[in-house]
């Protein structure tokens, strides 16, 4: 869609020229997120924004949304754009709201361990800031080197530390958000709408502008570990035993393909993680870990290698080098189903003649976040399109196994009905109440829209994906 000049002029007048861009090159580079879209899919949506706005304050955010409401222009909030489900990709043009300029630390309550930050701050900056204090972050995402706090609040919120301290939402006390009508509201457990209602709503209900995070006292000791195994089954059993007997900060299991990027591990599967807390407890857990690894005939890596792996924890996508492209999905799955799901991914990979690597991040003793990567080549356009359907196949199996997608965005929206019908009803009802004009991040999460604003029914989307998967055999 083309935005009216009038809207653009008012926007520039209110915010200043330096905060608004309609530069063709800028539009080109804001038309995507982490995932590479098949060229033919780009034909269905108008992924190029008409303008990009970089607000520098919450007032700017409110101003943009108020104006967008007045002119019925879609607004697509964007943090670090490190999510791969199309959450920050426009579907019918509009204004991309790049929030990375709101990146200040507002206040540290040293006494109570509470930190208020603006939504566009990158996690790594908070970590650096906290180095000088006696506090640390309980949880942070695996993309902490570039993703933003607001982005994680709008999406999944599961990452390193969630095993010990729970998901991100459990570690947020309150937030300020701008609603689709441009009102700025304070959100907590008692507000209406409440923080938990809007948390993880993928930018379709509000734009978070600041958040107050719970901190935890700095650990007395930190001891990374890594163990490799000759079979995935052994690695998985050992990991479950470690979870039963100890309390790690994080525990991540990976299949052998990830080891291509390391010169210091050569197993079929390995897990790594870290114990944090009081020194005596950490040392005790480490001894238990040694026993478990021995029992399952694993190899416990020397601590310096484990330390290197822990340092490397933000570099999951190194494996992409062997693609050069990847197709993947993320979902929460019951731990007993992990082995079956990995087996199914391997089976699909073999059918599509694609290498597949799997990472499992344990969220609790019985649930885990599973991330699988199919290595492919987007330059082979037709083949890539047919391969893209593999992500649907995986997700269908995961839902059947009692799992649910980690996020919906543009690509997983048809699965919400099957995976979380109640959540879908709630989001739909909130969307109707808060955003009747459908201004905020339209065509995502609870339903998709094509370039001209035409609805894309989930069933049709599913049929299209099944069709291209079938086409794969012909190709």
């Amino acid at each position: 869609m083309a935005i009216p000049n009038d809207f653009l002029n008012v926007l520039i007048n209110k915010l200043g020229e330096e905060h608004v861009s309609v530069d063709p090159l800028e539009k080109l580079v804001y038309a995507h997120d982490l995932a590479a879209l098949p060229k033919s899919v780009k034909l269905l949506f108008d992924t190029t924004p008409d303008a990009i706005v970089r607000p520098e304050s919450a007032e700017h955010v409110a101003e943009v949304i108020r104006l967008a409401n007045e002119y019925k222009i879609p607004v697509i909030p964007r943090g670090g754009a490190t999510w791969g489900f199309g959450g920050t990709v426009p579907v019918r043009g509009g204004v991309v709201l790049d929030l990375t300029g709101l990146n200040r630390i507002v206040h540290l309550d040293e006494e109570h361990g509470l930190l208020t930050v603006e939504c566009g701050i990158v996690w790594e900056d908070i970590m650096r800031f906290l180095q000088k204090t006696c506090w640390e972050l309980p949880v942070y995402p695996s993309s902490a080197l570039s993703s933003t706090v607001g982005g994680w609040a709008a999406t999944g919120g599961i990452g390193y530390g969630s095993l010990k301290h729970g998901p991100f939402i459990k570690n947020v006390v309150k937030a300020t958000a701008v609603l689709p009508d441009g009102r700025a509201v304070m959100l907590d457990d008692n507000s209406d709408p409440s923080l938990s209602q809007l948390f993880g709503s993928e930018g379709i209900l509000c734009v978070f502008t600041d958040l107050t995070l719970k901190l935890v006292p700095k650990s007395e000791a930190e001891r990374p570990f890594m163990a490799s195994f000759s079979s995935l089954a052994n690695a998985l059993m050992a990991a479950q035993e470690v979870l039963r007997l100890t309390s790690p900060h994080s525990l991540v299991l990976r299949t052998f393909g990830f080891t291509r990027t390391k010169d210091y591990v050569n197993p079929d599967a390995y897990f790594f993680g870290c114990f944090t807390g009081y020194k005596h407890a950490v040392d005790k857990y480490y001894l238990t870990l040694e026993e478990v690894v021995n029992r399952y005939r694993g190899y416990l890596a020397p601590e310096d290698e484990a330390g290197r792996e822990w340092e490397e924890r933000f570099y999951t996508l190194r494996v992409k080098k062997w693609g050069p492209s990847i197709l993947g999905n993320e979902f929460i799955i019951p731990v007993p189903k992990i082995l079956d799901m990995v087996g199914y991914c391997w089976q699909l990979g073999s059918l599509a003649r694609l290498d597949v690597e799997v990472e499992v991040m344990f969220v609790s003793r019985d649930r885990a976040l599973m991330f699988q990567l199919f290595l492919c080549d987007e330059r082979k356009s037709i083949r890539y399109l047919t391969e893209a359907a593999i992500t649907k196949k995986v997700l269908e199996a995961a839902i059947k196994a009692g799992g649910k997608p980690y996020g919906y965005g543009l690509w997983n929206f048809p699965f919400m009905e099957a995976a979380e019908p109640e959540k879908k009803r709630e989001l739909e009802s909130l969307k109707r109440a808060l955003d009747p004009q459908g201004v905020l991040n339209p065509g995502k999460t609870i339903g998709a829209e094509l370039a001209l604003g035409l609805p894309l029914p989930g069933r049709l989307y599913g049929m299209l994906m099944d069709g291209v998967w079938f086409l794969r055999k012909v190709v």
Binding site: P24, V29, Y30, H32, T100, P324
Partner: protein, 389 residues
Amino acid sequence: MLVLPKLQLEDVFACAQCGYCMKRCPVHYFLGWESESPRGKVFAIKELIKNDGRVDEKRIHRLGRLLSKRFFNCTFCGLCREVCHVEIDLLELWSRVREMLYDHGFVPENVVRLSEALRLSKNIYMMDNASRTDWVAYTGADVSFKDSAEVVYFVGCVTSFSGRVQTVAQAISSILNSANEDWTLLKDEWCCGHPLVLSGATREARALAMHNVEMVESIGAKKVVTGCPGCYLALKHEYPRLLGRKPGFEVLHSSQLLDVYMASGKLTVPKADVTLTYHDPCELGRISGVIREPRAVLQTIADALVEPEYSGKESICCGSGGLLKAVNPSLAESLARRRYGMLASTGADVIVSACPTCVQTLAQAATATQNGKRVVDISELVAEQIGLI
């Protein structure tokens, strides 16, 4: 026409778009827009090339000026390459794109002027190249011009012509004399060619490289010493590629030479009661890997050496690299102020670097602040402490 070689083409498609480069990029820190980030630039390239690695000529002509603005708003500091998730050689990629923009005539005006100056005068200041050694008279340095010597001191344009840092040349000369080295200056030194490589004018840079290598080889020198990280990078890493052969001499940066002299006892420097902090020049530290040697020297001669926030391979650019000063001086100044702030906040008495251009840039930033700290080159500091200058 730009045709990306297979490996680089793979790299462009392998880019994970994770944004780790963007978060660290010193230019993006100030400009904020996605197109000013390494991630955005890689995405733009990906959109402009075909699957066989050839650029879409029509789109290049349409977007040329916009691309030029972005690709020259870069200090070539290499931090993007350092943090890259999939280990893409981004500096190589940026060079290729600048070459393509140069060939298509899409380079900023000041870059065109710079290449013209270099073609005509063989130095970046458009001065008569015969005045390149005037610094000898200004500083009173004891130098010689021999037909044959073991070591050549390659001074570089900035140190030769810029009054603020000519003392670096004086210091290095006096240190070479003090170590009884058999050394000489080149009778007709030309610019190393690094600014032309950065402009995208690789063919023109080759002519300068050939001249300098011929001059050094005719003297029969086994070593070339330089105090300039840009010259060091050109002589050591760019010349073999430009000339298709490895020149027959070893290249040393002055900080490496000082380290060798001090470790072997050839040079004894008294320890001073001073706290220093060290700024790693990007081309010397991160890109060329010379990180240990300057620290070894400074730890020997000072009471304390304090590391600033971001140092070694993670060092942040002072803004003087990649021709940014010529293309976007106000942005370069912002970068300098930011880096100076990090160095000054260490509480050190003196800020040391191992690059005349960094020293000049940071000193300028220091003068803009109240009670600005002294910024000095490592060779100057050593020579001062021995009492050579």
